[in-house]
């Protein structure tokens, strides 16, 4: 698969945080996501969105991320935190 640009990865991480698949980055430490956490979040988003669960920011996933949508998160923070715990 064509390699993703840093911009696409950033967009992806922002999107996952915005809609509840990743905890929001800590404004002070700018907490970085581990590869494992990122893959899990992408899979959760793919499962919720009905696209193949590749765990990668593939074409279909990027298209879904660009689809107009409701602002509310799909997963609320407490659930994400619980998963993190």
């Amino acid at each position: 698969a064509p390699s993703l640009t840093a911009e696409q990865i950033n967009m992806g991480v922002d999107w996952l945080s915005k809609f509840g698949y990743l905890p929001p980055p800590d404004p002070v430490t700018g907490q970085l996501q581990t590869k494992e956490a990122l893959t899990k979040a992408i899979k959760a988003m793919q499962r919720f969105g009905g696209v193949e669960e590749s765990g990668e920011l593939d074409e279909a996933t990027l298209v879904l991320m660009k689809t107009p949508r409701c602002s509310l998160p799909d997963v609320n923070e407490s659930e994400t935190a619980r998963r993190k715990r």
Binding site: R47, R69, C70, S71, V75
Partner: protein
């Protein structure tokens, strides 16, 4: 699916559109009517009742906002996030519903870039009464915009969403078999304009044709939607091939500028170069920008280099973006970009293998294929090919116009009686390609 955080303890909820879009062709009344019907989707099946209020206090405050509007969910211009709503509760923002004023909000529009306001409103009001996002493909509560959901007056909530809202609030009496007439509704529902704002809402006259038992004068794909013309009327289908209304609309009330004594049209097509719509009748043609005729029309069809006795069919072939005209077994190829007829025409229709010589009309559809219409049947030719696909002809009524099987076996259809363009009745047998009689058994 998220566990639902809350629900309203009261059953009578007030709503109000506090701010309207700053730049939208949808009038305030249309927006209020769409909000009314979007809320009604939920109140029809639950014990909830919504009533519009004029004052500054309302349980469900509706705003059209832009970018950051101080609620932690900034909008982001066209696309992206388009709306959100707050779940029930005691917080002052509970129930508030915000739409992104940078979106191009539409209502019954073929605008591919527009956002169907009714569809998004149904979703957001689902949040405002306590439903969270779900991954169920059929659900209106999926987080992603899924395009228009058809006529608000005929919208049916997906079963998935009915079950979830019934789990929160129970079933409205009128839905259960204990139904008693609902005398509580005294106010008249707001009127939703049918098509463009000033279209008459008068029902068509009794002479409206029966779409399941008729041939068609013209068929066209216009701005992604299909139009079937018959006599003074037409039917319209959305790009999902949903019939906008079972009742036909009157040509003259929508396509403004055609002569008032026009009793039918011969052919219609959308010009590829500028998306204007061209109507043909006899030796004349009219050019429309949107649904208004342009100055200086009608003009003679000799402008195209066509004989003055008229055309049967006109369509643009996806394969080369050229316009093809058909008449009495011959066809011409016209270049709309160059505004000239290509040399070497007319040619014999027989070159389009399997296409009947005498057509009612033809059109290209969104799948890139070409469709040829004659009587109550149609033929399909895949893009890049000039031979009819196997399995054709098929029934126009069944495939395009929501005609059920039973209707299709009514005597008129079965004998395939069709009126020729000159009005004499002629008996036309329906044949498969190998010339055998084709008949259908429906029971």
């Amino acid at each position: 699916t998220l566990t639902t955080p809350s629900k309203w303890s009261k059953r009578h909820l007030s709503w109000r559109v506090r701010t309207f879009p700053k730049e939208s062709h949808l009038g305030h009344d249309t927006i209020r009517a769409l909000m009314y019907y979007a809320l009604k989707v939920w109140s029809d099946i639950t014990p909830l009742n919504f009533h519009e209020v004029a004052g500054s206090e309302a349980d469900i405050q509706i705003d059209f906002s832009r970018a950051d509007h101080n609620d932690g969910y900034p909008f982001d211009g066209p696309g992206g996030t388009v709306a959100h709503a707050f779940f029930p509760g005691d917080h002052h923002t509970s129930g508030e519903t915000h739409f992104d004023d940078d979106e191009s909000w539409t209502f019954r529009s073929s605008d591919a870039h527009g956002m169907d306001l009714f569809a998004v409103a149904v979703h957001e009001f689902g949040h405002a009464i306590g439903l969270a996002h779900t991954s169920a493909i059929e659900s209106v509560m999926r987080p992603y915009y899924q395009g228009p959901v058809g006529d608000p007056l005929k919208y049916d909530l997906p079963y998935e969403d009915k079950v979830r809202v019934w789990q929160l609030y129970g079933v409205r009496d009128s839905v259960s078999h204990m139904a008693r007439p609902d005398m509580t509704r005294t106010a008249e529902p707001p009127v939703l304009p049918d098509l463009p704002e000033n279209r008459s809402t008068l029902p068509p006259a009794r002479d409206a044709p029966d779409r399941c038992n008729t041939d068609f004068d013209a068929v066209a794909q216009i701005r992604g939607e299909a139009f079937f013309f018959k006599g003074k009327y037409f039917w319209r289908l959305t790009r999902e091939k949903h019939l906008v209304s079972l009742r036909p609309a009157q040509i003259l009330r929508f396509w403004r500028g055609l002569p008032i004594n026009l009793d039918s049209v011969d052919a219609v097509y959308e010009r590829p170069v500028d998306h204007k719509i061209v109507f043909f009748k006899g030796g004349k043609y009219w050019v429309f920008k949107d649904n208004n005729v342009e100055e200086g029309y009608p003009r003679p069809i000799s402008d195209f280099g066509l004989p003055l006795d008229g055309v049967d069919a006109a369509f643009v072939w996806t394969h080369n973006d050229k316009t093809y005209f058909f008449k009495d077994g011959l066809y011409w190829r016209y270049d709309d970009h160059e505004r000239r007829m290509d040399t070497g025409y007319p040619k014999d229709v027989v070159l389009w293998k399997g296409v009947p010589a005498l057509l009612d009309d033809a059109m290209r559809w969104l799948d890139g294929a070409s469709y040829f219409f004659k009587g109550t049947e149609y033929w399909r030719v895949k893009d890049n090919e000039i031979e009819v696909e196997a399995g054709y002809p098929r029934s126009i009524g069944r495939d395009w116009l929501v005609c059920t099987e039973m209707q299709s076996d009514s005597p008129a259809t079965h004998t395939n009686e069709t009126r020729s363009r000159q009005g004499q009745k002629q008996h036309q047998e329906s044949r498969s390609e190998n010339g055998y009689e084709v008949c259908s058994c429906t029971s």
